[in-house]
């Protein structure tokens, strides 16, 4: 996935991608910060890229907001620590969760360096205003995160966030295919990934 942060900045404070994802996946809107659940959200440069940010960073970066979500890492630490294999990596590289198996131990949350995972401290259902009846909710005591819309990919659709963006800021594609659109974009632009030095191999790229 490539996110063109210039486009996001131009159309700030657009949050269509976040609303689309959270609506179709029945992600609850919990106003109490400590119980918050999020699959995709925004944050500023120094939080998104703490190892790259410094106090002399230019004004443009300071004002820009960055979309953050699970990076579907190539070497996902969350998968290594999960004792039940509830979190696993699919053959196509997507880091997927099997909610039926999650025991809520939260090892994965400790292991993920990106804060991509949220724990259900409480029953999420009262906080889902307008549920999507075609997708399940979660229950109290499990961890959840972005699933790269596996249910939509299976139907030949794009991930909801990419589809929802009117400005085309989010592009998804096959990194393993050298002729894919996404590889072309990556060849032509300067991009950053989050915390690459940790060796997780994040698969979300940011055009700066």
């Amino acid at each position: 996935m490539v996110i063109d942060t210039r486009v996001c900045q131009k159309h700030a404070p657009c949050e269509d991608c976040i609303h689309a994802c959270h609506h179709i996946h029945n992600v609850p809107q919990i106003p109490y910060k400590k119980h918050e659940i999020k699959w995709i959200w925004k944050d500023e440069f120094e939080h998104a890229f703490p190892d790259t940010a410094h106090e002399y960073a230019n004004e443009v970066l300071k004002g820009r907001e960055f979309l953050l979500l699970c990076n579907h890492c190539e070497h996902p630490p969350c998968v290594r620590v999960c004792p039940t294999q509830a979190t696993f990596k699919r053959e196509d590289g997507i880091v997927m969760m099997d909610m039926h198996r999650c025991i809520g131990c939260r090892f994965c949350m400790a292991a993920c360096p990106y804060g991509s995972r949220s724990f259900n401290w409480r029953d999420p259902r009262p906080f889902i205003k307008d549920p999507n009846p075609e997708y399940p909710t979660r229950m109290k005591g499990v961890v959840e995160k972005c699933t790269f819309c596996t249910e939509r990919l299976a139907q030949g659709k794009l991930p909801a966030c990419a589809e929802a963006c009117k400005y085309g800021a989010i592009v998804v594609g096959d990194l393993a295919d050298p002729h894919s659109e996404i590889n072309k974009i990556l060849r032509e632009h300067f991009t950053l990934r989050r915390k690459v030095h940790l060796g997780t191999g994040p698969s979300v790229f940011y055009i700066i």
């Binding site: 119980h35 409480r122 259902r125 549920p131 399940p136 229950m139």
Partner: protein, 148 residues
Amino acid sequence: MHDAGKVIPGIIAFVLFVTLPFWSNFGKAAPKPQPEIPKEYKKCVESRDFMRREHMKLLRKWRFDVVRNNMRIYINSEGQPINMSLQNECMRCHSSKKKFCDVCHNYVSAHPYCWNCHIPPEERKGWATKEVKSLTEEASSKQPASHH
């Protein structure tokens, strides 16, 4: 034995007392559960006998195939393709969890946790009943409860 005259009737009384629930229900069977079968559909995924006996195993296989193997189509014994989904496929015909699933599950005291996450047809409209403000106050006043 000195007190056989007291002990033996005592034992008999005790046994009778302990088995009282059994005697009081003797000969009266609890009514057979009558789950509501959809009228407009004649056939389920597999035969009725198979579904009665094996639906839980079938659903477990489906969940494994969909979530872990990214396979979404089940081919039944008649060669028909079926979308493997409890929430979107089973409940398309079985339009009431209360009148179908719950009837037998309550009878045998089985409590599968499918519906903690999957949305039953009855609840498609949602649950957001409380005001968000009161929930916030409630949330901040309570310590997070432990899991399960």
